[in-house]
Symmetry: C2
Subunit: 352 residues, 2 copies
């Protein structure tokens, strides 16, 4: 990393700009005491931007984004019921295009029940796992098509593509992360009894990579069983490795059982560092509460902490996490009446 830390910021739509404003404050504060010089560059992208310009992610913008050390991403997406923006266009042509173009093969999503957060399902400290979700293939590749559209004989297909290259690198990443954790346990989640071809590739890969990590144990769960354990016994999980679609589903469920997706952070990480990684809250743009200072910026702030960790500022990352943890511990059990900025300021104060 150079002396200056060049971060691209994509606030996006809806509550994106509000929560990113707080994450930026925290990033600035957290890097003050380090010897890196934080340089932030804003990129206007998202549904609003598309409405104004017709652009989703132009090649020049993608090229410019590549020059940064990392990307901080808010949220994008049209309001439900919007009829101007073709459904899913922004998600696919911007968010997924970034993940695929920048080879974000590790979609890292930690789940932790912080002290002070009420969860109906567990005691604080009992939930502490990470999901390593594959980010560049599987059912997300956009392969498929339609035959005889709009007729009674229509056939629509979706093709999930899984490669040894893609599966192996993410499985190895999961074992590496497990190896550095206390419990050192990897759970592969798939549905190999039905999705035989992809499922067997994942299973064989886990068995092979496990040989490299004699201290890490592993087991397997079908995705349907995993959603049961997520409800009845979430503390059984340490590191979950899974495909793009199952990871999407499980991490939203994981967010829900650990205090809501207002707290769930994520990193879209290129572990080979051939392109910048991107950090974003798991939540979406929530147009219904946008512009009202109602959104919790904690997920965005924790995503900034993941960013700091990724660029080598792990001490600063740890301090941000601790500030968040202490803020969460002091929250009112039932409702948090503070505005987005007030929560950001409180975390900032705890950081000082």
């Amino acid at each position: 990393m150079s002396e200056s830390l060049n971060i691209a910021v994509i606030p996006g739509d809806g509550i994106g700009p509000e929560v990113i404003a707080e994450a930026v404050k925290v990033l600035k504060k957290a890097t003050e005491s380090t010897d890196v010089q934080l340089v932030l560059t804003d990129y206007k992208l998202g549904a609003e931007h598309w409405l104004e310009t017709g652009e989703t992610l132009p090649e020049e913008t993608l090229a410019a984004l590549r020059t940064h050390d990392a990307i901080l991403f808010g949220a994008v997406g049209a309001a439900p019921g919007d009829t101007l923006i073709p459904s899913g266009l922004i998600e696919r042509e911007l968010l997924l295009k970034l993940r695929f173009s920048l080879d974000h093969f590790v979609n890292l999503r930690p789940s932790k029940l912080y002290p002070g957060v009420p969860s109906p399902l567990a005691e604080p400290g009992e939930i502490d796992f990470i999901v390593v979700r594959e980010g560049t293939e599987g059912p997300y590749v956009g392969n498929g098509g339609v035959l005889r559209a709009g007729t009674p004989h229509e056939i629509a297909t979706e093709v999930s593509i899984n490669t040894a290259h893609g599966v192996e690198r993410v499985v190895r990443d999961a074992f590496r992360r497990a190896n550095e954790r206390t419990r050192k346990h990897v759970t592969l989640v798939h549905k190999h009894n039905v999705l035989v071809y992809a499922g067997h590739l994942w299973r064989r890969t886990v068995e092979a990579v496990a040989q490299e990590f004699p201290n890490v144990t592993h087991d397997y769960l079908h995705v349907d069983a995993a959603t049961i354990f997520m409800t009845t016994n979430p503390s059984r999980f340490d590191v979950i490795v899974t495909d793009n679609l199952f990871g999407d589903i499980l991490t939203d469920q994981a967010g829900a059982i650990t205090g809501g997706i207002g707290l769930a952070a994520s990193g879209n990480i290129n572990m080979d560092r051939t392109a910048p990684s991107m950090f974003e809250p798991v939540h979406g743009s929530a147009p219904d509460i946008a512009g009202q200072q109602k959104a919790d910026p904690t997920a965005a702030i924790l995503s900034a902490a993941l960013l700091l960790d990724h660029v080598g500022l792990s001490e600063a990352a740890r301090r941000v996490e601790e500030a968040v943890e202490s803020d969460i511990a002091s929250r009112d059990e039932m409702t948090d009446p503070r505005t987005t900025a007030e929560i950001g300021d409180a975390i900032l104060a705890a950081l000082a």
Copy 2:
């Protein structure tokens, strides 16, 4: 329906025979006071049977099963860690083959929080929805393949196939069921922002079919958001209609929030009645507790109630449900120390 009611019984593996024994007792009792003559025919199929004979589902057996009015199915599947049975073989070549061959396009899975069942997430009566899961296409079709297997260049694909015919009939079934319920609301669950081709077929079909049901309202949720609401607000659901894979995942989660899959019943229904429908508990064969009288037969018994309803004995079905409901209400909150047979007998007594 003829005077005699010809039911094929497939107890299967693990706890299957134990729970089916109780469901059979209840079926016998419940039909005693009707004018149908219950005729039960046992079919030995499953993992054990495969180990003995090498047969999964021979054509003659399938032909014989077709002659029945309905099928009562326990559970099948090898013990985890079993290395003799190729993984997923029994599930695909027996269970899924039955669902596909007998055109079970409506996989009906009711979720209800009965009074007396502790759920961390809701008050009794608050959860009462049905999932209408498509049962004959989607990612379950077994299409796909492997190229360069076992090499660093392996590519494994899975193809989800969705047809206008298949989607329309299950969507119409969901609206019909909603139309007969109090809240009359259908929620389509999919992931159309990523799975564009299949997603749009599902959405367009829901919009079209909704025109036929002016009294039924409908909305849409991405599958990831659906798992959140399943945790935070399950009472928002009335009728969920979804594809084969999403339905698999959501119904296990639904089981977990309504007292465990020991209570979750299901019907694999051919609504055109061109072949017998099949009724089975959502749970699997649970080899770890098999033969110990530890399994709860309630899901199997409630599946038998769905069977009675399907063959036109709705009064008998209602009585079985009421007997189950009264047994559940009298259970100990924490643990139910009764054996499989004791629970069956208690429900039988409540039925009398």
